[in-house]
Structures are given as C-alpha cells and as structure tokens.
C-alpha cells in the first residue's frame, strides 16, 4: 500500500508532523474482524424468542387476489401465525413515494402487503410467522390463493399508449412524472450547426446484487413501548422517522441499529414493503422478528435500476464547438415510486447531468417516467450517471468522427475551462472546483493513444478488433438540503460528529455516517487522530445506532467524507481547543504555547508536558485541582451541511482499450484508466478502491447485467447462476490517478468518489466498442453489450 501522498490542502497543515494521518493510505485495522469471521451482520443476530418470517409473493406480474385462504398454513408445524394485509395494516399506515419539489408526481398509496391486486412478480401478499425460516417456507405452500391473472403492462414504450393497461386506474394513465429542461433555443442552433449527429441508446434493467441480502430484525419491547430495529441500511435516522411515522410510535422510542452491512450501493437506502411488514409484526406480537431475503427475493424485490431508452442530438460548428444538445429519455419504474426518495431521481439526474463537462449554450432535455408491471426501480449507485454520460459521450464521439477531429480534441475544445468556475451545467445546475482539462490531460498521458492507434491499425485485418474510448464526466456527491429535504422528505442533509476524551486518555468518536465497507470508520479515525494529535489506535468509533450517534443523513450519494468528515474535523478541532484551555490552566501557561502531539500536551518551546490521560484524570477524578472557573468540557460536537448549492460535484476522466473477438463476439477489456478529482483524499488507497469497485459495477452494467423479463412480466434470470455479475477472471486491472482541486465548501476540501466508476465505465466501454466496430461500419447501441449483440452488429448471426 502506498505510504505517503502529498496532502495538497493548506487548510489541513503540513504532513511533516507527528500524527499526520489525513492523506495517508493506512490499512483499516478496524476491519480485521472480517478476516476472522467476526463481522456482525443482521443475519448473525439471534434474540430470545425470535420468530422468523417467509413471504408469499405474487407469481404474476399483474393479478387480482379473488380470495386467499391461510387456515391450513396456520396448522403447519412450527407456524405461529399467518397474516395478510388485513392484519398488517392495523399496525402500519400506507405510504406514498412522491416529493414536492420536482413538479407533479403521481404514485398511489402502498401497503406492506398487497391488498387486492398484485402489481409485480414478487410483490408480497401474505406472510407466515414461524419458529424458523424453513418451517415458514413449508407453510407458504399451504396458502391457497384464487388468482385472476390480468394483462400486464410490461413494455415501458407502450405504457402511455391509448390501449395500454392502466396499472392504477385512479391515475387514468401510467405516467408517473415528466420534466422538460429548456435552455436557449436548440432548434435554431441545430439549423445553424455545421454538423448534427444523432443516436438512440438502450439501457437494460439491472440491480445491485449486494452479496449480503436485505435483512431486518425488529424487536418491539412492550414494557418500554420502544422498538429496536437491526437493519442493514444506509440511513438509520431516515428509517427511524419512517418506522415512527408508519407504526405510529413516538420517534424517540424508535432505535435503528445498522451494524456491519454487506454492501449496499443504494439498494439498502429505500423503504421496502416486506421490511415494514416485519416491523409491524413485531409490534403486533411483542416479539423479535427476523427477515433475511433469499436470493430469489433479492432479484425480484430489491430495487432495480436503469431501464432507460434515450435519444440524443448534438450540433457542432465546423471547428467542433458544440452549439446545441437535445435529449429525450424514457424510463420505466415498476408499479410504484419508491418511498421516500421517489423513483424520479434517476431521470432527473439524466436531465441534470447530460452534457455537464461542456459549454453547451443551447440545451433541451425531456424526461418521461412511466409505471409498468415489473419490480420497482429506484436509486442505485451512480444514479442516472451511466445514461447521462453515455448519451453525451456517444454524441461527442459521433461529432468528432463526422467532422474529422480526434476524440480528445473535440473534448478539449468544449470543456468548461478549469479556470472558469463557478459555472453551470447546460441544464443550469451550479458547478464549482472542477478540472476536466487537467484530468483529460493526465488521462491522455497515462493512455498513450498513439500507441493504441498503432496497435488498432495493425489489428484491422485480424480476427480481433481493437478499439478505445475516452470520456469526461461530472459526478454528483455531497448533496445539500436541495436534494431531498426541500421536497418534504425527512432525510437529513446534515451530519454530526461527537468526540470525547475519556478518563483513560482514549478518544471516542461517533458519527451519523454509516459503514458499508467503504472505510467510513477508518477515515473518521484518521481525521480525528490527525486533528487532535493522537495515535490512530487511541481512537474508537461508534457508527450506525440512532441511540448512540449524532443525528444525520447516513451514507449515500458519496457524502461520508465530504460532509461527515468535515463534522469530525470541526468537532476534533473544538475538542483540541478545549483540551488546550484546560492544559493551559493546569500548566499555568499561555494556551498558544501548547500543542498536542502523540497523545501529550507539549510545550512548543520545550519542557515537560502532560499526557492526555493525566489531563483527563485531573478533570474527571480530581476536578478540585483545577483552577477555579476552568471549563471541564472534554466532549465536543459539530455538524456540517452543504449550503447554497445542490451538490458538490467531482469530475472524472476515463479511458479504456478493448478487444473484440469477431468469431465469438466476446469483448475483452485490455486496459482501463481513471483520473478522478475528488479534492482532498483522506485515505488515497480507499479512494482508489471506491473507483475500482465502481468501475467494475459499471462494467457489469455495460457488458453483463440484465434483469431479463418475458412479455408477461416474469423475470427469467432471478438466480446468481443466470444473472451475470462481474467475476474476477473477466475484469481488468484498473489504473487510477488523480487531479486535486479541493472543494471550497469545507475546510477538509473533500468531495465524493463513489459514483464515478459506475457512472463512467458504461460510456467509455460503449465508445471503445463502437470505436472498434467503426471499421466495419456498424455499432452497438444497447447495454449490456453482449456477444450476441456484437455478432448481430457484425452480421455474423
């Protein structure tokens, strides 16, 4: 692991000092437990008198429940009871997945179990409660349902047709939400353009496939009137509000605990009907209840993502300067908008982010989001980015090819200059502190395109085609209240940190940011130890417990380091200040002559200091020794939020080289390069791992992953043997480098880094594939880019 990277943020002080940890690739000592089998995941939890559930789920995409008989199931061995919506609804109120700040959204009420009509294959309709999961599953087979199958509206492209099946008759059509952005006059600009290029891209549905499935243990304590929910989620305080509201419990008597979480990627930040049912059952029975989704349930009920068809048009002048861009995006979100973040956000991001790196004076974007009888769709890692980046970068490549300039040259001509921030995206979203020019320059140096071109030409007559691509992109990170809170959702955009010196001299830190493996705990520790002047091993961290951490948003949209990290920095600085005040009083000297190094308050000019342990012992146990009036405060708390702008954007440039076997259609990614500008890197190794992991998920979407449905709305590949995820053998090594432009919004200067890989890889791979196919006058415009699609494009099949 790299030892030292130069910290380029002057606000953080020199790295040439004791306890300088920000900017260093330190190993995650706290995560060692995972190598010992000592992780504590939800399914590892066993509580006394705990019951287990299994859900009966709709086998049809659209069907009416004419009648349901659970009596025989109730007599099955080990079964405690069987409930339908009638019993559950008494303990859980319905919800609606709409927000108020993005124009009209129309989505009906949703309940934990479907009442009369099931609207996707996998929607829960009844639940068996038993002594163990196996017994609960046995009893599912004894539930008798008289189904009347209805026509399903599966295809999003016909969802608004006159003869479409209207999934919610009370809404009169399948339209959920639509938005139009119109800046300048695209029609006039296209007319005056030297060249206009067009394309239409298709993105299949895929899903998060967290290795640990969704899980919950709900524990209603009747004697306290309190419910504790162990939940592998990302936003404990959001869940606290949701549970309190819909179970009608005082919010202060809801405790959400998120211990170790086996990957989330946005999948685990939403409110799921089955999890709400489990909370309701626990409240009804006064006993702990566990639900762990099996893999079939994961595939058919975890939110899906993407599912877009987008057309785009780009006009350029004869030099290649972009004059206008127009896009039209259609997305299908299943039968309900997810709660509480809504299923409008992916399309909204497509509209916001398309064209974002470039100066585009005229921009028009239309997004249409419709209901369909498939699994609900919602926010998954890099929300909207893959679609926005792919359509933009595909058009830019086409324009370069049409007017005969290089792929890098057209981008350089059109970037918003690094010196021209603050600025705006073509859609009007504020941008600041970005570096597309410097990042592309660095990428091109790493790639050596001349060599790649030579190899490509040498391969032209061979069976293996070579191609390459380069892309630039903006990445949404560190959202402000303007993302969700403004629309009425109880989702905190602020995060807090609380830090204390304990009697032993140890430091305890708690943060509202949660850990799903990114390294939250490690970076929080680095920031605290760095700012306090203590060793890493003297800091202990508590995360993921609404009873034990400050209030805040949790981990999503790459907000942990930039928002939560800043709160830790501020709290640590305050605590250090308090420590120095107390030390100055004890040591009878000027505070400014003191500092903290290696867990000791030192005299800068030499002489004996006192350890933090000695100081703490004096304050806590022998407070009478302190000079009168000394403030004994050894606990500091701070909060931070982004103000005035919707997001702190990160930017990224990526390149890749691919080989395509013309006989098999198999694409091999020979090399992949990424340059990321996420400002201050608290732990460069962890940043790189976010980028690498993100790229691999992007490769999954680009080449392999698809939730395949038949035309009745049956998912055809809901197993891990049939749904293809990236495995090690097909994946390349990824070369990562950085440009550093600190965010001016905070002292720490960090932006997020978790989305770019997933957001950019699909675009750069598609561009590289089409760069290779260009020689044959063909292209593939649909993801995943399967061997079959390649062979069809090459007219081999």
């Amino acid at each position: 692991m790299d030892d030292i990277k130069v910290n380029q943020n002057p606000k953080l002080g020199s790295m040439d000092r004791p306890n300088s940890y920000i900017g260093r690739s330190l190993p995650r000592e706290n995560a060692k437990k995972h190598l010992e089998g000592g992780g504590q995941f939800v399914d590892d939890l066993v509580l006394p008198r705990m019951l287990h559930v299994a859900f009966l789920r709709s086998p049809f995409a659209h069907a009416e429940i004419k009648s349901i008989n659970v009596e025989e199931a109730k007599t099955s061995p080990g079964v405690f009871d069987v409930y339908t919506s009638k019993e559950i609804d008494e303990f859980c109120t319905p919800w609606v997945g709409t927000l108020g700040h993005l124009g009209e959204m129309r989505s009906p009420e949703q309940t934990p179990l479907a009442k009369k009509i099931a609207r996707w294959q996998g929607e829960p309709i009844a639940v068996v409660i038993a002594n163990n999961r196996a017994q609960a599953e046995d009893a599912l087979e004894l539930i008798e349902v008289d189904w009347e199958e209805k026509d399903a509206q599966v295809d999003m492209e016909t969802a608004l047709d006159d003869n479409a099946v209207v999934i919610h008759p009370e809404l009169d059509s399948n339209l959920f939400w639509t938005r139009t952005v119109n800046q300048g006059d695209v029609n006039q600009a296209f007319e005056t353009s030297h060249a206009v290029v067009e394309t239409k891209l298709d993105f299949a549905r895929h899903t998060g496939v967290t290795l640990e499935s969704r899980g919950i243990v709900a524990d209603w304590n009747k004697s306290e009137g309190k419910i504790t929910i162990y939940h592998n989620g990302q936003a404990p305080h959001m869940m606290q509000h949701i549970i309190a509201k819909h179970l009608e419990v005082n919010e202060g008597l809801v405790r959400i605990v998120s211990r170790d979480v086996g990957g989330s990627f946005g999948i685990k930040v939403h409110v799921y009907p089955d999890e709400m049912a489990v909370a309701a059952i626990s409240k009804k029975l006064g006993r702990p209840v566990k639900f762990i989704a099996d893999r079939l349930e994961s595939f058919t009920t975890d939110i899906h993502a993407r599912c877009h068809k987008i057309s785009g048009k780009l006009g350029v002048d004869k030099e290649g300067k972009i004059l206008a861009m127009e896009i039209n995006d259609l997305s299908g979100i299943g039968p309900f908008s997810m709660y509480p973040r809504t299923s409008a956000i992916e399309t909204n991001q497509v509209l916001n982010l398309s064209g974002a790196p470039y100066v585009i004076p005229n921009y028009k974007a239309v997004g249409t989001v419709v209901f369909q009888n498939k699994t609900p769709m919602c926010q998954y890692r890099a929300v909207g980015h893959p679609i926005a980046v792919a359509i933009t970068e595909a058009l830019v490549d086409k324009a370069a090819n049409k007017i005969g300039i290089s792929l890098s040259e057209i981008r350089k001509k059109n970037f918003i200059p690094d010196t021209a921030y603050p600025n705006k995206t073509p859609s009007g979203v504020p941008l600041e502190d970005l570096s597309h020019q410097a990042s592309m320059d660095k990428l091109l140096t790493m790639m050596n395109i001349q060599e790649i071109e030579k190899e490509k030409i040498a391969n032209l007559d061979k069976n293996v085609l070579s191609g390459y691509g380069v892309i630039s992109m903006c990445e949404v990170t560190n959202p402000s209240p303007l993302f969700y809170g403004v629309g009425g959702a109880h989702i905190s955009s602020q995060d807090g940190a609380s830090i204390r010196l304990e009697g032993s001299g140890a430091i305890h830190l708690s943060s509202s940011i949660t850990e799903q493996g990114q390294g939250t705990e490690a970076i929080m520790k680095q920031i605290a130890a760095d700012q306090l002047g203590v060793s890493m091993d003297s800091v202990r961290v508590t995360l993921g417990d609404t009873d034990a951490t400050p209030y805040g948003g949790g981990t999503w949209a790459s907000r942990g380091a930039g928002i939560g990290g800043e709160a830790v920095l501020k709290a640590a600085r305050t605590l250090k200040d308090n420590i120095l005040d107390i030390a100055a009083a004890i040591m009878q000297t000027d505070k400014n002559s003191l500092d903290v190094e290696n867990n000791t308050v030192i005299r800068k000019n030499g002489g004996e200091g006192i350890t933090l342990q000695q100081l703490a012992e004096t304050v806590y146990y022998r407070g009478h020794e302190l000079p009168k009036g000394t403030n004994p405060e050894l606990l500091a708390t701070a909060s931070f939020l982004i103000e005035g702008i919707p997001f702190v954007f990160t930017n990224s440039a990526m390149g890749c080289k691919v080989s395509i076997d013309q006989d098999t259609g198999i694409i091999k990614i020979d090399k992949f390069w990424a340059v990321e500008d996420c400002g201050t890197q608290i732990n460069p190794k962890l940043v790189e791992e976010q980028i690498r992991g993100g790229v691999i998920q992007g490769i999954g979407g680009a080449l392999f992953e698809e939730c395949v449905y038949d035309d009745q709305g049956n998912m055809q590949n809901a197993t891990m043997a049939d749904y293809l995820v990236p495995m090690a053998y097909e994946m390349p090594d990824i070369i990562v480098d950085h440009v550093t432009t600190n965010s001016g919004r905070s002292i720490i200067g960090a932006k997020g880094a978790g989305e770019a890989g997933t957001g950019g890889a699909p675009a750069v791979i598609m561009n590289a594939v089409n760069n290779a196919l260009k020689h044959h006058g063909t292209e593939v415009l649909s993801q995943p880019i399967t061997p079959e699609k390649i062979l069809k494009a090459l007219r081999k099949i």
Partner: protein, 158 residues
C-alpha cells in the same frame, strides 16, 4: 420434528468435536454451522454460485450451502474462525495490507479459496489467480486488491 426428519452425526469443526449431534436431514451445513454461532460462514445465494459459504471439509474447499449437514458425518471441517495457523495469518495480513475486502461479506469464502491456492504450491500469474477466484463473487472491490493480496501471499509463502 419426527425421528426420520433428523439424523445424528459426529464431526469436528476447527478442532472442536461435535459428538452425536442431531441435525435435520434437510439442513445444509452452512445453516448448521451458523446455528452453532459460527457465523463467519456467510450465505449469499444458497445455490453454489457466489462462493461466500466456502469452507474446508477434509482438506477440500466446498460450498457449505450445497453440502447437507448430515454429509459432514465423520469429517473434519475448517471455517474462517479456524484460520489461525502461520500461513493464514500471513494471508490475512496481506488482505489487510492491500484492502482486499470492503464490506467483508465475501472474505471468509475468498480466504478459503486463497488457502486452497496457497496449498497447491503453484506460482500463479495474476490471470491465473483471477481464474482461481472466479467462483467467489465480490461486489465491492473490483477484485484487483484481492489479486494483489493473493499474489503477495504466494510470493511470501510458496
């Protein structure tokens, strides 16, 4: 549960003897081990595709979701909790050094496969390492750091 639905077996886990224990005939080994508090063995798919539940049974890496508990009769089993020998300590140190895991859910299975790779005493190339671990799914890392950790372990140990 009636007698025909269960069976009595004896085996050892990480050197601890499980004598004449009653297990449901339909219970897979992973569920049994987890029911005994050995929760380091994780379940990702329960059909042998993801590799998270990989354990060592009589010296061979097996998917414990595809082995019935009853089939373990007479066998010697090692789970991630039993990895305390010098070789596996080195492997674990390399996993930590290279950050060869994020959420940690795949790690027990990945370590088990690594143990088998190391035991083979072969000097594998990075591509060969990638091939060997292609039965273990990791959604977080992108695999490169895992390959780094295994490569260094091979160089250090073999």
């Amino acid at each position: 549960m009636s007698a025909k639905n269960s069976v009595n077996i004896s085996f050892s886990v990480n050197g601890e003897n499980f004598e004449d224990v009653t297990v449901p005939t339909r219970q897979h080994l992973a569920d049994y081990l987890r029911s005994q508090g050995l929760t380091g063995t994780h379940l990702g798919c329960e059909q042998g595709a993801c590799g998270a539940c990989t354990i060592e049974m009589d010296g061979v890496a097996v998917r414990s979701c595809l082995v019935l508990a009853s089939q373990a009769n007479g066998s010697s089993i090692t789970t991630v909790e039993g990895f305390d020998d010098e070789v596996m300590q080195k492997v674990k140190n390399n996993f930590l050094k290279h950050n060869a895991f994020q959420c940690g859910f795949c790690s027990p299975g990945m370590l088990m496969t690594t143990k088998e790779i190391i035991s083979s005493k072969k000097k594998l190339s990075r591509d060969e390492i990638r091939s060997e671990i292609s039965g273990n799914y990791c959604r977080c890392t992108g695999y490169q750091s895992i390959v780094d950790a295994i490569e260094e372990s091979i160089n250090e140990i073999n």
